[in-house]
């Protein structure tokens, strides 16, 4: 790690630095984001490039990829939007509906001006005259961002006006077609995207959607150049990334790490006993802890384990937890978060969650395994958005990684059960599972379909 050489923030005397890199996040997290003057002192003024497209070559050379989950090359998307017909619109995506992720909220809280600089640069690059910042509904964060925008407009540093839009606290709110609907004043529901958002997005305009962390990297690359960006990370996947880590001991924190850092170090796998690691959040993949401990944090290494970095959520499941109960609870949440617009998603996700909940109980009916396999195959690829596909990824990896736990449950035992007694369908003593963070209103366990359809108000 070449931490000191790449530091963007001056260390305050006496402040204890949080571990990891400090390109995007300041070493001290005690105060919310610096004022504009402090931001300019730390990073220098916002370097406009003076021409549409001017920054694309630098971003391409930095090999910057999107940090919102899909990891798409930023230069390619910017070029596509710039080349689409009509005046483009830019949206910074800070919806962060994933309950296990906090990195975008932390970034916006601690370094709002870096994100807002990136938004201006992105607008300049694709020739946009309108920009939006779409952020998880949180009053304190919205107040801070409104103040930051007012400060910038008083200082005259923004060339494009930015409108702040609240994202509803829904898992799907940040999916780009849901985002385009919400930013245009509608409900945050996905649409059947044809043509793609970069050709026709907000109000029919070509739309560049980038995650807020991606924009913050753009703001640093514009100032310090691609070579600086590549000083950390691997040759194929350069730079740093924000991760939200849930340690087996119960602590959770956001940090900035070089891509390629050992997963075991980032997640503290040696210190606290863990049985499995969830990568990529609730649309992600379980990996056995022993295998995960050997992996570097790169997409190419994770792909070989059937996983991706996604939006940087990592969770180490403690040895004494039941992976089936944890996964069942997440699946009930995901089923309740379906927008209920597509038949297979509406019909399949609650059934999958119900069957998995059965599996998380003792002496489940063996037939629920076959049901899960069949329903997973029936919903994958049949939604307007990737919600069913992400859900199936989680189900399949859990069925593989927790196959030993499934056998134990079939025999009436459970890793998490401290009082192994009772009959079929009994819920293990430590249930409801509660390691992975979820909103308080996740439907309770039970064999029946989980969740109830949401009302339209929930999507505003």
């Amino acid at each position: 790690m070449r931490q000191t050489a790449t530091m963007a923030w001056p260390m305050q005397a006496g402040a204890t630095a949080s571990p990891g890199l400090h390109r995007l996040l300041p070493p001290s997290r005690r105060q919310p984001g610096a004022d504009l003057a402090g931001h300019v002192r730390a990073h220098g003024p916002l370097p406009y490039y003076g021409a549409a497209g001017g920054l694309i070559a630098e971003i391409r050379s930095a090999r910057l990829t999107g940090r919102g989950g899909a990891g798409f090359p930023v230069a390619v998307k910017m070029t596509a939007v710039a080349d689409s017909r009509g005046r483009a619109v830019v949206v910074g995506n800070g919806a962060e509906g994933e309950p296990a992720s906090r990195k975008d909220k932390q970034l916006l809280w601690l370094s709002p001006h870096l994100v807002l600089d990136g938004l201006q640069l992105a607008a300049e690059t694709v020739g946009a005259r309108r920009a939006y910042l779409y952020v998880h509904r949180d009053d304190r964060l919205h107040r801070l961002l409104a103040d930051a925008l007012a400060e910038r407009s008083a200082a005259g540093c923004d060339r494009v006006a930015v409108e702040l839009v609240a994202a509803p606290p829904r898992f799907l709110a940040g999916e780009e077609s849901a985002l385009a609907n919400r930013v245009a004043g509608g409900l945050a529901l996905p649409t059947f995207k044809q043509p793609r958002i970069f050709e026709r997005g907000v109000g029919g305009a070509p739309t560049l959607v980038q995650n807020v962390e991606t924009l913050a990297h753009v703001a640093l690359i514009a100032r310090r150049g691609a070579a600086w960006f590549r000083e950390v990370g691997t040759a194929a996947e350069p730079g740093s990334m924000l991760v939200t880590c849930h340690h087996a001991g119960g602590a959770s924190r956001v940090s900035e790490v070089p891509i390629g850092a050992p997963l075991a170090d980032v997640l503290g796998l040696g210190r606290e006993p863990a049985q499995a690691v969830l990568t990529g959040g609730y649309h992600g993949t379980w990996i056995p802890a022993a295998q995960a401990a050997l992996l570097p944090l790169t997409n190419s290494a994770l792909r070989q384990a059937g996983a991706t970095l996604g939006a940087g959520v990592l969770a180490a499941l403690p040895s004494q937890s039941c992976g089936l109960a944890e996964t069942a609870r997440v699946l009930r949440y995901l089923a309740a978060e379906s927008a209920g617009q597509c038949g297979p998603c509406l019909s399949g996700l609650p059934r999958i969650a119900g069957a998995f909940t059965q599996l998380s109980q003792l002496e489940p009916d063996r037939r629920c395994l076959a049901d899960l396999e069949r329903w997973a195959g029936l919903v994958a690829g049949r939604g307007a958005c990737h919600h069913p596909d992400g859900t199936v990824r989680l189900v399949r990896s859990a069925l593989g990684v927790f196959s030993g736990e499934i056998e134990r449950h079939l025999r009436g035992r459970c890793t998490a059960d401290r009082a192994p007694a009772g009959g079929p369908g009994r819920v293990p003593a430590t249930a409801p599972a509660s390691f992975l963070p979820l909103p308080a209103d996740v439907p309770a366990g039970g064999a029946g379909p989980a969740g109830s359809p949401r009302s339209r108000r929930d999507w505003r």
Partner: protein, 67 residues
């Protein structure tokens, strides 16, 4: 020019009419929603495919060119 059926799952309301008109490419799942094959529609079935597209009460089907 090869074509295939494509469904808009949001628009589809699961009438199942398409599965009757083009059973070679559309079957119904256990909940009554169409499973549309990504296989090309051969010329001899194209008329049936067009009929399914125009007769779908939700206008949820289309024939698209395979690139």
């Amino acid at each position: 020019m090869d074509v295939r059926m494509r469904i808009n799952p949001i628009a589809c309301v699961g009438h199942g009419l398409c599965a009757e008109l083009l059973p070679e490419r559309v079957t119904l799942d256990e909940w009554g929603y169409p499973v549309v094959s990504a296989e090309p529609v051969p010329p001899r079935l194209e008329a049936h495919a067009r009929r399914a597209v125009t007769d779908c009460p939700a206008l949820a089907l289309k024939l698209e060119r395979i690139r």
